[in-house]
Subunit: 214 residues, 4 copies
DNA sequence: CATGAATGAGACTTCATTCAT
DNA sequence: TATGAATGAAGTCTCATTCAT
């Protein structure tokens, strides 16, 4: 969705002046919703709040979305888009799957430690929006397969392995958000995940401890 | 579910005639709520539904609970009580911490595979009721410490280890509920968890594969 | 009410043992309601509260009253009965109407000062139960007429005079209950009422200041 | 709309187009509530009735008031505002405190005689809304003090005197509403009030009988 | 497009009243 | 008769959604 490809304009986004403003207002609404999701459960968010947070009138929302569901769906999509970018960026220069996986996990945890609001929003959206999971999965799966091919990983079913990576990462994020973080949390979690995937203790320690890219 | 054992009734006030009926209705309400939680998100459950599901009038609920919160709290407590019993039972005869942990994880997954409603209810309640997590934690922590003492486990922080066990178990339960289960799911997950905790591949395979008690 | 006369049993109160208990429970309910009326507005009193305050079950109320209205009506009657007694007693030995009126007003105010609960209950019932007014009126009217006959009072319409006496008395009671009482409140109010009825300043001061009977 | 007025607009927010309509609806709601208060006790009024009486949907009320209390409070304020105006108007040209007081009392009673609904609403609101009393008190106190200063009145405590004026006036209003009015009710009551405040019979009669301003 | 007033379904909660025990 | 569980109507309040301006 929202392919940012510079391909022939297929009728999706004709960029007039009016349309730029339209897009700006829309983003304002989605961002406002994101900010709210960071604070309260999805089911507790009223559209009037979203409108107020975005500094528009409640009726305005219905110029951009047909229904409440659509608003929340858009929020999921927006957050997912952000991930895709973030994750793609960070693993650009790393070829080793295990290393890429380690970087991914740690970056999620570090960001969660720094930005609880972001983490909360992410956790709630994953819980709420099925599509989110598969988006994350896509990235992780690549790393898992590369690690398996290179002999670094050793697991029976890639679905189960995927589950483990995602579960441990989100579980750790929740711990962080709930204030149960410990010194070196991200490294410890990553090490355990790697070992679960079949990496030896020594290698796991080394990979997990390697400094993060910028 | 789990027909209450024919043991001496430990409850406090079965003194009046009506008390048996009262208790029956209360259970009916809590069970109805449990059935609903298995089907929809906690925040989407209306008390009128609970009443209907329990085949009583809406007002009746308020003869037993003062508020919506109390109803949901009671559901959490009921499910937690069931766990305590179940878990205590199964680990009665096993002394090895790693083995007890493995049995615990697998039994949760097996039951989830067999009873999706139960699993769904559990997952939602864990997400909703903070107290639930600590209840499960208590049991797991004992096993973790025993495993560490006996040299079977090797981890740096027990909070992180606890997180991992719980996250992987609940994550796998969700997979099962969502229909992503695979052949031997429980054994695979358990094996990975054990390795994450520092158990060697060989031992992990052996422990995870041992047949479950009755 | 409850005339303990040893007269021919006219079918009203046949005094069996059971009937004594019945009457006791009934009084308990009415008294409980009175206590509550002292604390909250009539419309805010729930029958369950009355039952609890009377230490009986809610259902029991309906063995004595057919409806909520009946309960409240009984409360009005009970309070009225108490007045009749109280007022009759105090004016037994006084022949002068003005003096009797002064004593009556002051005793209401003094009791209000001493027992806010009683005053509150009375004020609320007067506001709620029309019958109450006429009961008080009966007593006051006698005094007014006597005062007029003896030349002490001088007013055009006895209804208006009656209104004035009752309004001033209840108004002063409310002031007392609301904490706006002043030193010698009862005497001041009485003096003003007497002057309004045509008594000279000197006489009014003298009458109002005369010590109350026991 | 309304932008080019040469006068400083005293109201705060008549800036948008919809504001005129908004104010109209709000008044409609308050007026509807007033009409209902004239008919039933405050505690018996359901917001759905108010909405129906105002010919809007129940939800609309909550676009204007946050809670039931606020609705009733607004009613009190509205009625109080009306008084302030009415009273200020009538006493504009009269300098004598006793005379102003007499006019005030009589106008209340005359209006009550002509408009029972208004009287009922006023009585109920005074009973319900503490703020109302002090508003009326303010006006009366001024007259009392002026009368005392000019030697027309003679009373010990102004709080007690205030009580007497208000009690007698509202008491008489209730009589009127209940159908116990008599010929020349307002004059009689006023005369008595004046005498209670220390005015001689002759002067009281003269002051009370003076024709009301238009 | 933006606005925000209006709507009405539906949620939670209270309470008078009934009725089986 | 006493009890208290059950009932269901009614009330307060919220909120997604519509629509005239």
């Amino acid at each position: 969705m929202l392919p940012p490809l510079p391909l022939p304009d297929t009728a999706t986004p004709p960029l007039t002046r009016g349309h730029k403003k339209r897009e700006r207002t829309r983003r304002g609404l989605v961002d406002a919703a994101l900010r709210l999701i960071a604070r309260k459960e999805v089911g507790e968010i009223a559209l009037l709040e979203v409108a107020t947070e975005a500094a528009v009138s409640n009726g305005t929302i219905y110029n951009y979305f047909r229904t409440r569901e659509e608003v929340l769906e858009a929020v999921g999509i927006a957050m997912a888009a952000e991930f895709s970018d973030a994750i793609s960026d960070l693993s650009a220069d790393v070829s080793c799957g295990a290393q890429r996986l380690a970087i991914g996990v740690r970056m999620f945890l570090c960001r969660a430690a720094v930005d609880h609001q972001w983490a909360n929003a992410l956790l709630r959206i994953i819980h709420f929006d099925q599509a989110m999971r598969s988006r994350l999965a896509t990235h992780v799966l690549g790393d898992l397969r590369e690690g398996l091919r290179s002999g670094m990983f050793c697991y029976e079913d890639e679905g189960v392995a995927l589950d483990l990576v995602l579960s441990c990462t989100t579980g750790a994020m929740r711990s962080i958000v709930d204030g149960r973080a410990v010194e070196g949390h991200d490294v410890q979690v990553t090490k355990m995940v790697l070992r679960a995937l079949g990496v030896s203790l020594a290698k796991a320690s080394k990979i997990a401890a390697k400094p993060l890219p910028v």
